[in-house]
Symmetry: D2
Subunit: 489 residues, 4 copies
């Protein structure tokens, strides 16, 4: 069987030497660094689930490409049922981790590649699709973790790509020969790339004539020479760096959503890993297919899982405080559930209204309207869920002392008394649940959820392009029996 | 074939003599009265669609009960696909009519009856299910319009049913003999009953021991002796009564959602039309099954259709004013679309997550959580859509002069100039589109949408009963690795 | 004393012969027509209050111009205290009437005229200010009702005034001689003009070079030859036309907010009533001063009064139903109060932060930022209050039968039983309170409130012009100790 | 003059030895510890402003008590103008610091003490008021920083104070003698107490008969023996602990809002510092007067200042990106301004509608309704402002690498290029502005703002007590001309 065990996955990363910087210093070992370690743990969990009898029906699936069972995150959806499963796996991973499953963006790039390579070949006579399938088979056989990358630094927003003076603001081809291409530039805000085996790169936006060198898509081992990762560093990173017991943290094993910028300094990509090279009209196709796939994920699936953690923590605090009958808290819990289910419904609708796109390709992609609606709703809903859970959790979410006080002989008895609320629960547990709510409501998740898969404006622009109102106008004319005649004739 | 033509439907109402009052006077002829006529027109349209090649696949379906094609509104869902079609037909009828399709409540009562009669028979050895099927076959064969009725006047809300002093506040059995039962009391806010062939009556709420006489469900021809209808009367009723050209009204043919109170004065119901009689524990079952079915309809389907009329009208006004590129209007249109699609997604999720309920009954009912979420979202969304469309339509929505001014020789030239916005559209058409928006945004639809199928609080109570948080608490305990130990031991 | 009694006011309208059309017909007598009568009643009430010992301190004030007590609606604010009283009188009139006090727009135009005429005279050496003061003295001495008019029909929104082909789309000077000017064009959506003695006209927007003929402001008796009024006509108009007992209506005496278009066909205005004529740079000054004054009124004052009616009605219904302890209803009442008080606070802040504008003029105008904030908040708040009150009022708000049923011997006993809720209140009273909520929540007030004094976008545009962010940027730079140096030097 | 210089203030803290714990360890020196230092810096700034020619008119005032100029934070409001200044100083301090001015709670306790001691003396013949004035004079003469404390740990919320088993859950008198009282218990979530000279303690809630020992109020030097502080510890604390250049942090000098629990272990308070002792009926008076004073502050004043920092940072980022003309960003900035001004208006209304309370006391307190409305609005507005600023700031708010990368020779050029957006601003400045937005939108401020001065439910409860609806009901009855007669007689 192709599937790796979690142990095999961790071993596979030992030989892996990406060039990573964090907090002004080089990270010598991504398995040992406390912050990069969280990404390893998150991806590792997905290897465990795929072979766990309880979860494997969800986390793995059969691939006709290699006639074997593969991790779902290395597959491409070929039916509505696959899309529904895709939605479910997103929720499951999110609620188990409380952070990104870092294989998700790669999974979504596979969908954009499978459909768009097929289409380019059909339209242009290129051979990208076969190349991509060979690549995907390799990924499936080796059960690799694959990150995806689209967003770029960009220069002045009012200028065009070619007008940006600096060399790294957008990723581009700088050389080409018989064996492959050489690329230079950067991607930013890339989730979990430094702890993935492979990196799949798509263009970040539409390209036009003259921008052929920016119209590129390819896959590359994540520790290829010339690639450098510069990691985010937040107060939560500092807290983790400093702690000696991760179980005093809000999300002990899996931490925050970790991103980095990814810099490409004359990186060589062999031709069999190049899936788009100069056909600039198709750059936007990659982007929109990725976007609609990823917005279903980020709007209707993973945030549902995150909300499950938040709702569970708020419910526990209600119980610890003995407030099960407080109607205003029950109302708040219900409001959170309604926001969660609304997200889930939109995600599910994006899946069940999915289509083979383009027809004949065999690739199923979510409904674009619903994917965008899902994400747009979640942008606002997540902030609201934060506010509601913050209300239930109380001021303690931000005024909580260190869990170390529980080991401080001069202080521990006070702390145990104060944060117990007269309940039968160990105070340590109660404090940890508050710490989890701190992670969710007093940290990075509002902004991160809003911007992941593009902010509200990105969804609005897409919706503006998508919608025409001909049907709606027609029904108005019919119900009013309007006559189509010339003006006041 | 069982299906009636629209003409046959209208003819069938000619012999039909319900006792109807409106605006303090008796309505002698429901076909002729301008306001009751709108209900006839709405139901009549559903007969046309069922035989229209363009719509019949949606509006009709095969019934194994009578081995023939029937109007969908006389069927019971027996699969997920039926539920999805049920959602679609709700949206279709609503966008065609801009008001209730008055057969919808009856359709939903059939679902509650089919499942609960089956369950009572299984649990109690009664014979309601066979009786109901015979009744339904008759309805299908004759292609009858059937209204449904649950809500009752009720007395002081803080008292119980038996404590209410007045005789009509809740419908009850007052006599029983070999041939049938005699009922007395009333239902209120009942949609379109006076222009339906049949009336199906369910209990309005849970009943407990001692309230057996209130635990009743039955079907009855709508013009049965002893039944009196007292119709709503609003400014919109007065406007229609007064007008001589219905095409000067906001919804010319189909008007407002028309309801009436329905008074039962010692009405006899033969046993073969009685489906619940004293088994008080099942009253709540009828109600909740009806509610979840009807909330999918009122939340996720018909309001989507209404919003289509509103969005279409707002778009037309944008175009008449030459403001296609005004980004704030495009944003508002998109916001309306997002609210609409969110409603649709929740309705669709209620359908696709539907189940056979109870198992073995063969009856499919929508997911209860999603049905309630759909309705709760729509309560708020509809007011927002009204506000947005009201913004686009402008003050003219309320300051519009009568369309009669277009025929007033002293005035018509001014009016034609002022309300044309410099467009090429006949001013009459522009004024009519504003009149449609007046119907939607400056009238009864905010309050009506909120309360149809129960107001927000009804959904919240249902959700509070439905949701337990065990899954969510479990995932929190797992991610934090909380130890289940006794307090601070 | 200058103040008229209500009877004197009504008598004064008997000789008054405006040319008015409604519902396609000429209104021969505005005192007799049921709909135009509501405007007379509303203005008449303001005459009663000014001499009522209970209200006269608010409704009247001392005018140094004529050294006498005058109706506040004929005065100009010359202090912060006057502005605060202006806010209070707006709330008072609104809660007493449940509709417009139609003298309010005229009152606000006086503020724009007093300040801008003074400024033009100072800048240009014109003599408008003295002329305006003479006019105002006459108004005060005769205690006249004065309406104001700004909004015009306009043509295609993307074109400029001079490009509109039709003759009436914007009001303009068409002739000028030794005695005065002749104007042609129209104003639309004008509140209560046909039942006011005088009409004050301001430009509707900025004007530029070449548009001198549109840069006009003047006052004119409302029944001057050449002026025609075409009234709005809504379902509520039809209901009133039809009814024989106005106490069966939602707002018995004072009705809906009545507007009309006002057409000027070669209307002559003598020079002593012309306050702006060609000085196009000052057109925008009139508009913005009027707008900030009127937005305080429409945002922070009259809607507070309207909300008082709505809150009172919702509270009464809660009590009739015996639901005083229903916490979700109490929450909704509190939410309405919070929205009301937020409006009031913004209005009060606009008044207390008011300034002499321009300095030296002696005229006090509200703070422009706060006036716009007040209006913008109210646009949204009013729809929310409608939804909340609609929830409390229940479906009955729209399903209510005619109050005539209370006199129908066949029906009245049922109706009395059903709509009594088991309370001790006469059912007739309960139904009337629902009728009042129908007026507020199932009618024209959402759209009307949004657009009165300009819709949200008008406030946003004004705020965009008003706000610079220099202070905010400075505090950021200080707290971060940012160095002002050249780029990455 | 009584006023200390900032240097004198810092010196005064050198002799000051509070017992403070943070992160499981004792804080030996609050001036040196990086986190406790931020509180020192914030309070210190208030000493600087009081003698700064630019700010002294706001930050200082004349005290007739000592016939000298004092810091405003040691005064009590005796006029509407004082309340308005109180509002202004709150905004000013907040926008300068970006965190609490920790003297604010003490300032608000002075208002509760001045009015309630006066009232108790009048009602009961006690001598608290004179005692309080002596204390206040000492504070003014020495220009001391004073913290305030109300909130207590509490036990099971459904039980009463006397039923809580543990000794520290509520602060109480445990002994009393000729010289003073001895108290035991704790206060939690107390802002900045460990770096204040004095601590003023009020009861946290109403008390009833039998709870006399809990009905206590007093003042005490903050380093009195028996008092222990256990500080909050968050990711932001860890980040500050770890950093070597505070100008790499989001709020360099002033940090997060720092709180601690304050434990009282048999702490002796001499009688001349005791202001409430057993008169349990007045406990609620202290609390409600404090609450209405503090809610004006936390609702209408300091959050206005915080929003100024947020708005300034968002505006700067808009400019750095060259997006000054992006209308959706301008709309978001305007929305933030509207939310800010709404808060300001409510705060100002609370001040300008303030009253002498109780009459004769000479103490002016804000309007209770408006104070609560201000706070309730801000609870929701602040989350919304966070979401809006988070949108403008972009994903970079959370994905930002450490500012140390700017000194990393291998990385700095990339970072400078990527985060410059093609602008002329030094990248370091741009990153710092993002770091400020991280502080505001990806940290503790949503939850902290919501709960400071009590969460939404606390305001709702207060409003429910405050509001009766008699006026509103009366206007409804008048407009409908309802007859007060017995039921359907």
């Amino acid at each position: 069987m192709a599937l790796m065990t979690p142990g095999q996955f961790e071993n596979s990363l030992k030989e892996f030497k990406p060039r990573v910087f964090m907090n002004g210093k080089k990270v010598e070992n991504i398995l040992a660094n406390k912050n990069t370690r969280t990404v390893v743990e998150a991806n590792k969990a997905s290897y465990a689930w795929a072979i766990d009898p309880q979860y494997k029906n969800l986390m793995s699936c059969y691939s006709p490409l290699i006639d074997d069972v593969v991790n779902r995150y290395t597959s491409v959806s070929t039916s509505i049922d696959d899309l529904v499963k895709k939605a479910e796996v997103g929720t499951f991973a999110a609620e188990m981790l409380g952070t990104c499953i870092y294989r998700c963006v790669g999974y979504d790039t596979f969908h954009a590649l499978a459909s768009t390579c097929w289409e380019m070949d059909k339209d242009l006579g290129t051979e990208y699709h076969a190349r991509f399938l060979e690549y995907l088979k390799m990924v499936q056989r080796k059960d690799l973790s694959v990150a995806g990358a689209l967003t770029e630094p960009r220069g002045q927003r009012s200028q065009k790509t070619l007008d940006w003076p600096d060399p790294y603001l957008s990723l581009k081809l700088v050389d080409k020969n018989r064996d492959g291409i050489v690329v230079q530039g950067a991607k930013i805000n890339i989730s979990g790339a430094f702890a993935s085996h492979e990196l799949v790169v798509l263009p970040q936006s539409a390209h036009s004539e003259g921008e052929e060198d920016y119209a590129i898509a390819f896959a590359i081992p994540a520790d290829t020479e010339g690639i450098t990762y510069v990691c985010q560093y937040s107060p939560f990173s500092a807290e983790r760096d400093q702690c000696d017991d991760i179980y005093e943290l809000g999300n002990p094993l899996f931490g925050q959503r970790e991103t980095s910028m990814v810099i490409f300094d004359n990186v060589f990509v062999p031709w069999d890993r190049v899936f788009h090279c100069g056909e600039y009209k198709y750059s936007i196709t990659f982007v929109t297919r990725f976007a609609k796939t990823h917005r279903m994920t980020c709007g209707g699936t993973c945030k549902v899982g995150f909300m499950n953690q938040i709702i569970g923590a708020a419910k526990l605090i209600q119980e610890y405080k003995g407030l099960e009958n407080a109607s205003h808290i029950n109302d708040q819990l219900i409001e959170m559930v309604v926001l969660r289910e609304t997200g889930r419904a939109c995600g599910m609708a994006a899946a069940t209204k999915g289509i083979e796109d383009p027809p004949g390709s065999g690739v199923y992609l979510p409904d674009e309207l619903m994917g965008n609606v899902a994400k747009l709703n979640i942008c606002n809903a997540f902030w609201r869920v934060m506010a509601l859970a913050g209300d239930i959790g109380g001021g303690l979410i931000v005024t909580l002392p260190s869990l170390k006080e529980l080991k401080n002989p001069e202080i521990k008895d006070y702390v145990k008394e104060f944060y117990n609320f007269g309940s039968n629960e160990p105070t340590e547990n109660i404090m940890k649940v508050h710490k989890l709510l701190q992670h969710w409501t007093a940290g990075q998740h509002g902004v991160a959820t809003w911007h992941g898969a593009g902010p509200v404006m990105a969804q609005k622009i897409m919706l503006h392009r998508l919608i025409n109102y001909e049907h709606e106008k027609k029904i108005v004319k019919r119900v009013l029996n309007l006559k189509e005649k010339s003006k006041d004739a």
